[in-house]
């Protein structure tokens, strides 16, 4: 039982990171219909910027994360302006390939600037806490707590503010949004800003328990795609729930099924779900 709960908490930790990454991905997908394969690269950039802000500018961890969210958010905006905006009328496949181009570039860029090797991100929250026989570090509690807070804020923003609603409106009809006076360019940029910021946050929170390196985006990006499909593409609650489902299925699958095949478990779950419900778990009924 203790093991089970410990693994639940482990799943909660990774699930939080997955959810954050998937949220950014699903936002961009939902609004601009771009499956942004470069999202993992934004995650990676988030790790490096935080690290650099700490080591070069000497900023404290928390502040470095904020800086990183802004920088990577702006990087996302730049991406939207330079690549996805010109491609807005192109068939969907083009976005994917263009995104792959960006991904290759950003990884090479990180390698060029920061080198190819692993780097360590220090955290002030390294202490271990043990409650009821469960082991946690403060960093892990921080990951879980800040994810929950960010998700609630995001939900309130989208549901309760007009600006947030404009994001949802644009997701459904870009021209219609234009016609009611929404500046769709601004919304698109804002979406990428949010998406980049969330990726940077996820990376900055997760890096102290892993490492920072040019390929670190690969750790999360495929899983994030699985999650947003699981949750229905473009669905925000879906991304959150999907993230945690994947986190739990990994930790419990590794414990009770097989560690070697735990990744297959996650993908197989998805394939089974899509086989039964071809439009995803949270798909809204079409018209």
């Amino acid at each position: 039982m203790e093991l089970f709960i410990q693994q639940l908490i482990n799943g909660l930790t990774v699930g939080s990171v997955y959810s954050l990454v998937a949220l950014g991905l699903t936002l961009v997908y939902g609004i601009l219909h771009i499956p942004n394969f470069a999202h993992g690269a934004l995650y990676m950039m988030g790790g490096y910027v935080t690290l650099t802000a700490m080591s070069q500018a000497g900023l404290p961890y928390g502040l470095a994360i904020v800086v990183s969210m802004v920088v990577v958010g702006l990087l996302g905006v730049l991406m939207e302006r330079l690549v996805f905006y010109p491609l807005r009328d192109a068939p969907p496949l083009h976005d994917k390939i263009a995104a792959i181009g960006i991904l290759l570039f950003l990884e090479a860029f990180a390698q060029f600037v920061w080198g190819a090797d692993y780097q360590t991100m220090p955290t002030p929250y390294g202490n271990v806490v043990t409650v009821f026989g469960l082991t946690l570090t403060v960093q892990r509690i921080l990951i879980i707590a800040s994810t929950v807070v960010i998700m609630m804020l995001l939900y309130l923003f989208l549901k309760k503010t007009f600006i947030g609603a404009s994001i949802i409106a644009m997701a459904q009809n870009r021209e219609g949004a234009n016609l009611v006076g929404i500046n769709t360019n601004k919304v698109a940029m804002m979406t990428f800003l949010l998406s980049g910021g969330l990726a940077a946050l996820a990376a900055s929170l997760a890096s102290p328990i892993n490492l920072v390196f040019p390929g670190m985006g690969h750790l999360v990006i495929l899983k994030a795609f699985v999650i947003i499909i699981l949750g229905g593409m473009g669905s925000i609650p879906g991304a959150i729930v999907g993230g945690y489902i994947l986190g739990f299925s990994e930790s419990l699958g590794a414990t009770y099924v097989s560690n070697d095949y735990k990744d297959i478990i996650a993908f197989a779950i998805l394939v089974i779900i899509l086989t039964v419900k071809p439009n995803g778990l949270f798909a809204k009924e079409g018209h």
């Binding site: 021209e175 219609g176 006076g181 500046n183």
Partner: protein, 235 residues
């Protein structure tokens, strides 16, 4: 109020609108008649800023609006109810209307009143307010599109073929509604194929063919014109 001067619009090398000049006076209903592909929608999209004209000027109350982005044009009070409706398919009817008031988003009380007004005009929307827009039938969607356009309390309302695919009873109501909206103070530019009904509520009319205006006049003049009757009214 709305002046279009020497406007041409191109799609690539194809000129959809050639050197068009006309105006809509404040408080009036002007109607654009024209066959399919004449360029009515193109003109509307250009006025709304969704296309940039290749040449010419568009002015609202004397100020140029042809270089403004679409959202700024809506803020100025030129609102379009477009062909194809462009609704937010997975939002409810109510939310669609709410989004229509985007430019007045600070004015909570105003929004409430506007919504009530729209429900009065189209009771069916009230009945379906919690359904998603995508599940409405063609005609209901058209009403919602007009309702949504009204939510931004336009000074000039552009209606692109509002009667398309509507039942006769509804068409009649629709024109009555348009007239009512106009009488409440909104200037209206209407694109229609249903010339008879359109001219019967309009003040001024323009006949569009192949991207240019080939005739214009008051509604009575156009109704009295045999060729116009023959081509667009069919009796």
């Amino acid at each position: 109020m709305l002046e279009v001067t020497n406007v041409s619009v191109r799609y690539g090398s194809f000129t959809a609108i050639r050197d068009v000049t006309f105006s809509v006076r404040s408080g009036e209903i002007a109607v654009l008649l024209g066959a399919n592909g004449a360029g009515k929608s193109t003109l509307f999209r250009t006025i709304s800023g969704l296309h940039k004209p290749a040449q010419g000027e568009i002015r609202l109350d004397g100020e140029r609006i042809d270089s403004l982005p679409p959202d700024r044009i809506v803020q100025r009070g030129v609102v379009q109810c477009a062909e194809g409706r462009k609704l937010f398919a997975r939002m409810s009817v109510y939310e669609n209307l709410l989004m229509g008031a985007y430019v007045h988003r600070k004015d909570k009380e105003g929004i409430r009143r506007s919504i009530e007004h729209v429900y009065e005009l189209f009771p069916i929307l009230h009945e379906k307010r919690n359904e998603t827009a995508g599940s409405l039938s063609g005609g209901q969607q058209q009403m919602l599109a007009i309702g949504r356009a009204l939510m931004s309390r336009p000074a000039v309302l552009l209606l692109d073929e509002p009667s398309i695919g509507l039942a006769p009873l509804i068409v009649e109501q629709m024109f009555a509604t348009i007239k009512q909206i106009n009488e409440e103070g909104t200037t209206i530019l209407l694109a229609e194929q249903n010339a008879h009904a359109a001219l019967s509520i309009a003040h001024q009319g323009y006949v569009f063919e192949n991207g240019t205006i080939v005739a214009s006049g008051t509604a009575e003049e156009l109704l009295a014109n045999d060729d116009v009757r023959k081509a667009y009214i069919g009796t």
